[in-house]
C-alpha cells in the first residue's frame, strides 16, 4: 500500500462524504421523523457504501480491503432494516406525522 492515494479512491470517498453531508442536512431540514429517516437511510447508505468501496480500491485485496467490503455489504443489508424498525416503532409509539402529511393508511388500518 503506497501513501499516494489514487484518483479513483479520491473520487469514491469524496462523493461518499458529499452524500453523507446531504443526508445530515436532510436530518436537519426535513420536518418529521419519517421524512428524516428517508434522507438518513438513502444518503447515508450510499455515502458510507462509497467511502468503504473507496477504501477497498485504495488498499486492494488485503485485510483492510476485505473488512471494508464486508462492512459495505452489511451496511447495504442492515440500514434499511434499521430504518424500518425505527419508523414502525415511532408510529406505534405515537410519534405524529408532519402537519402537511396527506394520507396515513397505516393509522387507518391498524388504529395505532
Amino acid at each position: 500500500m503506497s501513501s499516494q492515494i489514487g484518483l479513483v479512491p479520491i473520487i469514491l470517498i469524496s462523493t461518499g462524504v458529499a452524500f453523507d453531508l446531504v443526508g445530515a442536512l436532510g436530518l436537519i431540514r426535513l420536518p418529521d421523523v419519517y421524512n428524516r429517516l428517508q434522507a438518513a437511510t438513502k444518503c447515508v447508505t450510499l455515502g458510507t457504501f462509497l467511502v468503504l468501496i473507496g477504501v477497498l480500491v485504495h488498499s486492494g485485496w488485503n485485510a483492510m480491503g476485505i473488512k471494508a467490503l464486508l462492512a459495505a455489504i452489511f451496511v447495504l443489508w442492515t440500514s434499511p432494516t434499521g430504518s424500518h424498525a425505527l419508523a414502525r416503532g415511532a408510529h406505534i409509539a405515537g410519534v405524529r406525522l408532519w402537519e402537511g402529511t396527506v394520507v396515513d393508511k397505516y393509522k387507518e388500518d391498524t388504529g395505532r
Binding site: 420536518p31 419519517y34 428517508q38 473488512k67 434499511p80 388500518d109
Partner: protein, 167 residues
C-alpha cells in the same frame, strides 16, 4: 434439508466469515476460528431460513446479481432525489403513507422487497402485515389512486427479480 446438513452449512458460513475478517492463514488463528465456528453452529441453530438448498442454484444467484444491479441503479437515483429535495429552498415534499399488496410468497422475498423499496427514491417501508406493505412516501402523487399505482410499479420492478431469487 436435514439438520446435520444445515448445521454444516452454518459452520461453513461462520468459518468463511472468520477467514475473511482475519485474512490470515496462520494456523493458530485458523484453529480458533474453526472452534468458534463449531460452537456458533451448535449454539445458534438456524442461521439460514427453511429451504436453504436454494443457495446452490446458479440461476437464483444470477437473478440475485441482476437484482443487486437494478437496486444499485435505483439507490443512485434515490440519492439525487433526496439531494434535490433537501437542497431546494422550498423543500418540495408532500409526505404520506400508502399501502400496496405484494404478490411475493416467502418471508425472505418480502423482507428483501421491503429493504429494496426503502432504498429507492422517496419511499420507506414502515410495516408488512400479511401481504400488505405500508410505505411512507416523501412526495405522494396528487391523486391517491395514482399514488398507489405508482407504488405498485415500484414494487413490481423488484418483484420480477426477487420472485426468481426466492420463490
Amino acid at each position: 434439508m436435514d439438520t446435520l446438513k444445515r448445521r454444516l452449512l452454518d459452520f461453513v458460513i461462520y468459518f468463511a466469515l472468520w477467514l475473511l475478517l482475519t485474512w490470515s492463514l496462520d494456523w493458530q488463528g485458523v484453529v480458533v476460528g474453526a472452534i468458534l465456528a463449531v460452537l456458533f453452529a451448535l449454539a445458534l441453530s438456524g442461521l439460514l431460513p427453511k429451504g436453504a438448498e436454494r443457495l446452490f442454484s446458479p440461476v437464483r444467484w444470477f437473478w440475485a446479481i441482476m437484482h443487486l444491479l437494478s437496486l444499485l441503479f435505483w439507490i443512485i437515483v434515490a440519492n439525487f432525489d433526496v439531494l434535490y429535495r433537501v437542497l431546494h429552498p422550498n423543500l418540495p415534499i408532500r409526505p404520506g403513507i400508502v399501502k400496496i399488496k405484494t404478490t411475493l410468497k416467502s418471508d425472505e422475498a418480502k423482507a428483501f422487497l421491503a429493504n429494496s423499496i426503502t432504498l429507492t427514491p422517496g419511499t420507506l417501508t414502515i410495516d408488512i402485515i400479511d401481504d400488505w406493505l405500508y410505505i411512507h412516501w416523501i412526495n405522494v402523487h396528487e391523486s391517491l389512486e395514482d399514488a398507489e399505482a405508482i407504488t405498485r410499479d415500484i414494487a413490481g420492478r423488484f418483484e420480477v427479480t426477487l420472485r426468481r431469487v426466492f420463490d
